[in-house]
């Protein structure tokens, strides 16, 4: 068989895993992990950034320290923690896919907490003063006046973090979750003959996915360029 034949014979498996006969895998599972983790990380980051802005001193310190710790350790370590300890702590069998999503969401959330906090801080103090003097509460000022402007500044940070998340879904390989990278190594072990074409195909799939996000980010950035900056 030529390299092209090997790839095309395994393309279904690379894209969907053993679905529909078995569980979803391959690139489809990577997309599920990536989207869920990106959504959770964005929500966590938003919540973290808001707490760092408006929370009580104790809460702020707590969030700042845990985010700093999460940013300082490798994603692989956090995946280990989630994968091997969540089942022990809760005495239930947690599927590998969920533990990877949890780890990716926590790390992504920690990086986005920083970005959201910085984005809010970049809004001119006059906006806060204007909101407060109009009789808005701190929370109302943040939600109705500051955050809509800050979110536009944060677009590049969010897109960059999503791209990092997409690439980090490949770390699920280490704990044997059947996403794209793991499935590719299975194909490679089975076929034995064309390691370079197999992994190059997988790289191309990831590249298309990430480049799509880069393109989307660039479009958003030009649309919102300069809006709400100090």
């Amino acid at each position: 068989m030529t390299a092209v034949e090997v790839i095309s014979a395994n393309l279904d498996y690379l894209l969907l895993g053993s679905w529909p006969a078995g569980p979803l895998g391959g690139m489809a599972l990577s997309v599920v992990i990536g989207l869920t983790a990106a959504l959770l990380a964005s929500l966590l980051g938003l919540a973290g950034g808001i707490v760092l802005t408006l929370g009580s001193p104790l809460l702020r310190r707590l969030v700042a320290i845990s985010a700093a710790l999460l940013r300082a350790i490798p994603v692989v370590m956090l995946i280990f923690w989630c994968y091997f300890l969540l089942p022990v702590l809760f005495a239930v069998d947690v599927p590998g896919t969920l533990t990877v999503i949890a780890a990716l969401a926590l790390i992504g959330g920690a990086f986005l907490t920083q970005a959201v906090y910085a984005g809010i801080a970049a809004i001119a103090a006059g906006q806060w003063q204007a909101g407060l003097s109009l009789g808005f509460s701190h929370w109302q000022t943040l939600r109705l006046i500051v955050l809509p402007q800050a979110l536009r500044i944060m677009v590049p940070s969010f897109v960059n973090q999503w791209i990092t998340l997409v690439k980090d879904t490949s770390l699920a390989y280490i704990v044997g979750v059947a996403e794209l990278t793991f499935v590719a190594s299975q194909v490679n072990n089975r076929e034995q003959v064309y390691p370079l074409p197999v992994f190059a195909t997988v790289a191309l799939l990831y590249w298309l996915w990430c480049s799509g996000l880069v393109w989307l980010g660039a479009r958003w950035e030009t649309r919102y360029a300069g809006v709400g900056r100090k």
Partner: protein, 245 residues
């Protein structure tokens, strides 16, 4: 004192901690080599980006896009399995066999193929990110500097080497430090191809002792020490490099 049930009724024996310290040493060594190579290559790539020839710029852009927009894990597997498949069998046999050179009482061992593949993949991946930071630094140097140096009769290469690069590096220190910390964390992925670094050794200790919590706690602590140590060292190095502005 015997620890409670959820800690597995035991503490790690010293020699297991020794394994992880060895892992941490390999992590640090690999990260150091990668930072050096990635910086060197990153500067070259950034310089290539400023070239007049379109083909050079296109080649650099392609390199950056391919390395930044694909996962490091896939790149590692590509180098480890893919390149091993391309090399002739005799070369692979030589690479997989241990080789030692003794020079004036010092024994230098040729590293394992896993280590070499990890070094290449990590260096190329990190170089793409370093290049992007340096390029941003070059863009931040006022265009007048470039024009003034050219007017003084310097060649474009001299202008880049003596005028633009030193100023760009000063701006770029902070983001570069961030990239270096990223390199330390990224070395953890090399466990997937069998490099016995810190994450790998923590898994080894975990499966040997079944003391999951302790093994990962020690490894996490060692990572924190490495990353925070590098951060501290980088913060201290900055004032000497960044003086004069």
């Amino acid at each position: 004192m015997t620890p409670p049930a959820w800690l597995g009724y035991g503490w790690l024996e010293p020699h297991f901690i020794g394994w992880m310290l060895q892992g941490a040493a390999l992590t640090a060594w690999l990260a150091l080599l990668v930072c050096g190579l990635a910086t060197l290559l990153g500067v070259l790539l950034a310089a290539g980006y400023e070239q007049r020839w379109r083909s050079v710029r296109l080649a650099v852009r392609t390199f950056l896009s391919l390395h930044r927009n694909t996962p490091l894990m896939v790149q590692l597997l590509l180098w480890y399995f893919g390149v091993a498949g391309l090399l002739p069998e005799a070369v692979m046999l030589w690479l997989n066999a241990p080789h030692e050179v003794t020079l004036a009482g010092w024994t230098l061992a040729w590293p394992s193929f896993e280590f070499v593949a990890a070094l290449i993949a990590l260096s190329l991946y990190s170089a793409a990110f370093v290049a992007e930071e340096i390029r941003a630094g070059i863009r931040s140097v006022a265009p007048g500097q470039h024009a003034a140096a050219l007017a003084l009769g310097m060649t474009p290469r001299q202008v880049f080497r003596h005028i633009v690069l030193p100023q760009a590096l000063r701006v770029v220190c902070r983001p570069l430090l961030g990239q270096y910390l990223g390199v330390i964390k990224n070395t953890s992925l090399t466990m997937a191809i069998g490099v016995a670094e810190l994450s790998y050794s923590s898994r080894q200790v975990e499966s040997e002792t079944l003391l999951t919590f302790q093994a990962f706690a020690v490894a996490t602590l060692l990572y924190l020490l490495l990353v925070l140590g590098a951060q501290l060292a980088g913060g201290r190095a900055r004032p000497t490099l960044g003086g004069g502005r």
